[in-house]
Amino acid sequence: MKNLNKALLSLLLTFLITFSSQGQDAEMADVMRSEGKIYVVVAIILLVLAGLILYLFLLDKKVTNLERMINEKRKTK
């Protein structure tokens, strides 16, 4: 029984190791990450995203104002 358990356990471990190590040799940008330069890229992308979103917010405000103005004008007529 103990031997069976051991055999099963080692089988399971072999599976785990083969699946977890699948493609481990694939080349990734590990150096860029370890140097921390990836944060520069993240910061730049986030700034552009934030800028565009802010622009959308301001545009939204402007359109809402326009909507309000036209509605008032229509009521006074």
């Binding site: 990734m28 993240v42 995203l49 959308l56 917010f57 359109v63 036209i70 007529k77």
Partner: protein, 225 residues
């Protein structure tokens, strides 16, 4: 549209951009680090389908009970959906260039997406070619139903029936299409939700502007009388 929804969408996008660049991803050959493009390329298509679905919904509502407002909504959703689709094709071309070897590979899904985009472009050609507002709205609503019915098989069915380089296609149907592991789902799904909200927000602005334009045209007509 409620402000907190907009903020939620923005936060989801910020999270998706940060986690998409920093979190661990499966180490795969050929795609290597470009696997992260999944977080940015795939939400474009989800967004497109969502916006086209909303457009279809308003077109059907229009045909049941015609009103200018419903036509404006159907047109605005289709317009934003087309923008998402074009971005999806362009991002896909960049990705394909570095993983498949050329920007246009004649992949069934790529061709299908291109045809679907053309079908929706024709929607706007149709709208532009009719002067009478009611006729324009009715005909384009009918065409919109056809366009959606053509898009679904082009993007989701045909690529699965044939060989496709897209993951999860080519005789391997099911929703589990991107060989995603659970780590990638944690980023991809929020990214999709975020883009849904941003897309909806962009559409709501376009709807507002179109409505106001219509009111102005009415005011002009009254002046002339």
């Amino acid at each position: 549209m409620k402000t907190w929804i907009k903020i939620l969408g923005v936060l989801l996008l910020f999270y998706a951009h940060i986690a998409g660049l920093l979190m661990e991803v499966p180490r795969l050959n050929i795609v290597n680090e470009t696997i992260r493009a999944t977080y940015f390329h795939v939400p474009m298509w989800f967004g497109m389908v969502f916006l086209f679905l909303m457009s279809l919904y308003y077109s059907i509502l229009y045909l049941r009970k015609p009103s200018l407002e419903l036509d404006i909504k159907a047109e605005s959703f289709a317009h934003a959906g087309l923008a998402f689709g074009i971005l999806g094709i362009l991002t896909g071309m960049i990705w394909a260039n570095y993983t498949w070897g050329s920007p246009w590979h004649g992949d069934p899904k790529q061709n299908g997406a291109a045809i679907a985009t053309l079908v929706y472009l024709a929607y706007f050609v149709l709208r532009g070619s009719i002067d009478n507002m009611e006729q324009k709205a009715r005909l384009s609503a009918v065409y919109n139903i056809f366009a959606f019915a053509a898009m679904i098989p082009l993007i989701f069915i045909i690529p699965r029936l044939t060989d496709s380089l897209h993951p999860g296609n080519g005789g391997n149907p099911g929703f589990n299409m991107y060989d995603l592991d659970s780590r990638m789902r944690l980023v991809l799904y929020p990214a999709i939700m975020g883009w849904f909200i941003i897309g909806y927000w962009m559409v709501s602005l376009r709807i507002k502007l179109s409505k106001q334009l219509d009111i102005l045209l009415d005011l002009e007509d009254e002046k002339l009388k």
